[in-house]
C-alpha cells in the first residue's frame, strides 16, 4: 500500500527519482537553475563575462530564437511541429533586401517592414493550411516547406548578394532605445505578449486543450483546425519579426541566411519543457532554454577553443535535447503510474 504522500510525489523508496520527476514536470526550474549556475560559475572564473556589454551582446544574439521560439511553442503545444522557420527566415531576408536595397526596388522602410510581415504571415498561414487540410504529419509538410522556401529564396537572389541595406532599416537591427538594443526590446514584448496569450486568454487555453486531447477538444466544440492554423500563422508572423530585428545586423544578405536556425529553435522549445506530444509546456521554459544555449555558445567562445567551439556547441545542444526527451518520458510514466495507483 502506497501512502498518499508517496503517491503524489512518485514513490518515497526512490527519492532521487522522485526529485528528478518533479524537476522534469516543471522544466522551467531545472533550466533556470542550470542557467543561473552557468552564469555564476563563468562570471566567477572570468569577470569579463558578466560585463554589461557582453550580456547585452548575448541577449541580442538570442533575440531571434526567442521571438520565433514563442510562436513555435504554440505550434508544438498543439501537437504539431514546424521545421521550416529557418528557410522562412532566409526567404524573408531576401524579401527585405530586394525590397529596400537602393539598387533593387528601393522601397522606403515602412513598406519594406509591412511587406516582410505580410510575407511571413502568409507563409505561416500556408504551412498551417497545408498541415490542417493536407492530413499529413506536420513534420513531413514542413520538411517540404523547408526545402521549397529555400529554393524560392535562391531563385529570388539569383546567386547574388545584397550589401547595401539603407540606414533606416539598419537601425532596427543595431539601434537601441534607452540604452537597450531594439531587438531585445522587441523580443521582450513578444515574450510578454505570448506568455499572456498562453496563460491569460481563452485562445491560449484552447490551444493547450487541443494538444492535450484533440478528440476531447472536438467534443468540447473547439475547432482543432482553426487553433492549429492560428499557431502556424503566428509562427510565420513572429519569424518575420525576428527577420526584421536580426537581418539588418548582417553585413551581407545571401540565400543561405537562417540555415540550421529551425533546429536551434526546435531544440530550445523542447529543452524548455514543451512536450513534443503536445498539451504542456510554456513560453518561460522556451526563453530560458534559448538563453541557456546562448550562454553555452558564448562560454565556448570564451574558452578559446577556436574551431572546436562549434563542434562542442552541437554536441552540447544534442545532449540537452536527449536529456529533455528523457525527462519528458520519465514525467509521463510516473504521471501515468500515479493516476493508475490512485484509481479506486
Amino acid at each position: 500500500m502506497i501512502s498518499q504522500e508517496a503517491a503524489r510525489t512518485g514513490g518515497t523508496d526512490r527519492p532521487f527519482k522522485a526529485a528528478l520527476t518533479r524537476l522534469a514536470q516543471r522544466r522551467e526550474y531545472g533550466v533556470g537553475f542550470l542557467l543561473a549556475a552557468t552564469l555564476i560559475a563563468v562570471s566567477w572564473k572570468n569577470p569579463a563575462f558578466a560585463s554589461a556589454a557582453n550580456l547585452s551582446d548575448l541577449l541580442v544574439q538570442c533575440a531571434p530564437a526567442v521571438i520565433v521560439g514563442c510562436g513555435l511553442t504554440f505550434v508544438i503545444v498543439t501537437g504539431e511541429i514546424d521545421i521550416s522557420v529557418g528557410s522562412l527566415l532566409g526567404l524573408l531576408a531576401a524579401v527585405m533586401g530586394l525590397a529596400c536595397s537602393p539598387q533593387r526596388a528601393n522601397w522606403p522602410v515602412v513598406p519594406t517592414v509591412l511587406a516582410t510581415l505580410l510575407a511571413g504571415t502568409a507563409s505561416g498561414f500556408l504551412t498551417g493550411a497545408l498541415v490542417t487540410f493536407g492530413r499529413a504529419p506536420s513534420i513531413i509538410i514542413t520538411l517540404g516547406m523547408l526545402t521549397a522556401l529555400r529554393g524560392l529564396t535562391e531563385l529570388l537572389m539569383g546567386g547574388e548578394w545584397i550589401t547595401d541595406l539603407p540606414a533606416g532599416l539598419r537601425t532596427l537591427g543595431t539601434g537601441s532605445l534607452l540604452g537597450i538594443p531594439i531587438s531585445v526590446l522587441v523580443a521582450a514584448v513578444v515574450v510578454v505578449g505570448s506568455a499572456l496569450l498562453a496563460g491569460r486568454t481563452a485562445l491560449g487555453l484552447q490551444i493547450y486543450a487541443v494538444g492535450s486531447n484533440p478528440e476531447a477538444a472536438r467534443l468540447a466544440g473547439l475547432s482543432i483546425r482553426r487553433l492549429r492554423l492560428f499557431a502556424f500563422t503566428l509562427t510565420g508572423l513572429l519569424t518575420a519579426v525576428a527577420a526584421l530585428v536580426s537581418v539588418p545586423q548582417l553585413s551581407v544578405i545571401e540565400s543561405g541566411v537562417g540555415k540550421g536556425f529551425e533546429l536551434l529553435v526546435v531544440t530550445c522549445v523542447v529543452v524548455g519543457g514543451t512536450s513534443i506530444r503536445g498539451g504542456s509546456g510554456g513560453i518561460l521554459g522556451t526563453v530560458l532554454a534559448v538563453l541557456l544555449l546562448g550562454i553555452v555558445r558564448t562560454v565556448l567562445v570564451f574558452l578559446k577553443l577556436g574551431e572546436m567551439a562549434t563542434y562542442w556547441e552541437r554536441a552540447i545542444q544534442g545532449g540537452f535535447v536527449l536529456a529533455a526527451v528523457l525527462a519528458d518520458h520519465l514525467a509521463r510514466r510516473s504521471s501515468a503510474a500515479r493516476a493508475a495507483g490512485g484509481q479506486t
Binding site: 499572456l196 493547450y208 492535450s212 466544440g221 512536450s275 493508475a340 479506486t344
Partner: protein, 513 residues
Amino acid sequence: MSDPYLQVAGISKAFGGVQALVDVSLDVRAGEVHALCGENGAGKSTLIKILGGSCLPDHGHVRVGGQALPPGSVLASEAAGIAVIHQEAVAFPDLNAVDNIFVGRELRRAGGLWLDRRRMRLEAAALLARLGEEFDLRTPAGDLPLARRQMVAIARALLQDCRLLILDEPTSSLSSRETQALFRIIRQLKDKGVSTIYVSHRLEEVFELADRVTVLRDGRKVATRSVGEISRAELIRLMVGRDVGGIAARPKSPPEGRPIMLEIQGLTRAGVFEKVSFSVHAGEVVGMAGLVGAGRSDVAQAIFGVDRWDEGRVLVAGKALSPGDIRAALRAGVALVPEDRQQLGLVLPMSVSVNLTLAILQSLCRLGFPSARREQTLASRLVAELGVRTASLRAPAWALSGGNQQKLLLGKWLALSPKVLLLDEPTRGVDVRAKEEVHQLIRQLADQGMATLLISSDLPELLALSDRIIVMRAGRIVGELAGSEATQEKVMSLAIPAEDDPATGARVGGSAT
C-alpha cells in the same frame, strides 16, 4: 409530467455491414431519470453518441423540447442542453480541473480579452463542492484518480446548465460514497426539471434511481417499462433474450482423459484481476463471459505475456511461463487473437501473404532471407483453408472486410500451429457470413485437439461453442457453468453485479490505493 422533453424517433445506424441501431425510438420526459440497459454491444454507446452529436445517424431524427436537433453536431447538441459524460472521462490530462471544466466556455473579464481566472477557480470549486469533492485544483487532470476525473466531467456538465444529462456507466470507477454524492446531484437536477439518461450495468442502481428503463438488444429497442412494474429477473430476461440466429451448437464433451493444456492458478494483477484459476483441456473450448471491464481481456493478455502478473502461475502443457514474456508464451505454443485486430493484430498496409506468415517468418527463411516461394505456398494454403475472400495474396490487409481481416488474423496464429488459442471477441463487428465461418473454424480446431479460451460478449455464440463457461465480474471468476446447463439468463445473472456484491466491494476498497 407533461410532454416528453426528448423524442428519439426511428434512429438507425450501421458501421460497415453491422447494424448498431435499428429503428430505435424512445422518449424522455422533463425531470425523468431514464435508464438505458442492454448487454455489451446492444447499441447503448452508439445511441448516446448520436444524442451528443459526435456520431451521425443513418435514419431517424431527434427532437429536444419540441425542436428538431440538427444531427451530427456537438455544438448543436450542447446548445440544446444535452451534456454527455463519456465512460472514459479523461478530457484533457495536461490541464488542471478548473481549465478542464471551462475549456470552450471560458469566463472572461469585462472587455472579453482576458480570462477571469479568479472567477473560474471559485466557480469550479463551488461546483466540485456541490459534488462533495475538494482537492488541489491545480493538479493536472491526468494525475487525478479516475473517480475525480469523472467528477470534473460532471462539474463541466453542471456548468453548461444542461437540460438533459447523459451518463455512460458513471459509477464503474466510483466508490459507494462517491456514487451516493452523484445520485444526490442527479436528484437535485431532477427537481429542477433536468432529465437524465443513465446507462449502467448495475441493476440495483437502475432500481434505486430511475423512473423508467429502456432495454436495447442487438441494436433494437426491446421495451420501455416503469421501474415500479418490473423485477430484476424480468429486466435480465429482456436484456439477454438475444436472437440465437441458428448457431449450430457443438456437442459438449467432458474433458476427462484429455491432457490439460492451459492451467491458470491464482493469477492476480493488482487492481485488474484477482485470484483467477481455471484450466483448459486439449480439444476443449472454454467460454469466458462477463461485462466490459470485468477483466477478461486483461487475463488473456497476461497469459500471452502482454502484461505482467503479480501473483499466481500460468502452466502451458505443464510448463510454467514467466510473467510478461511474449516470446516464451509463443514458444510454449500460446497464441492470442486480440480484440482490437487493427491495432494489435494486423499490419494493415502489408499484403495478405506477409500478414499470414509474419509470425513464422524465421522458419520460412533460407540463409537468413525469407523465401518468397515458401511464403506464397503457405499463404495460399491458409487462405484456402480459412476461406479468406481476397482479390490476391498481394492485396493489402486493409482492403479486406472486417470478417476477412479476422480470418487473416486467425490464420496468422494458426500458421504457428499453437497448442493453446486465446480468442478475444473473435466475431465482434464482422458480418453474419464471416461470423459463421469463424464459428466453423473454432469447431474444427477444437476437433483437432486445440485448447481454446473463447472470450465473447455474444452469449448465444458463447453458449453454442463452449464446453464450459466461466463468468468474470469485477476482476474475479464468479461462477462456472457446464455448457449443457448454461443459459443466457444464468450467465447474465452472474455477470451483472448484485446488490451485496463481494467482488465489487473488494475491488473498490482493497486493491489499488
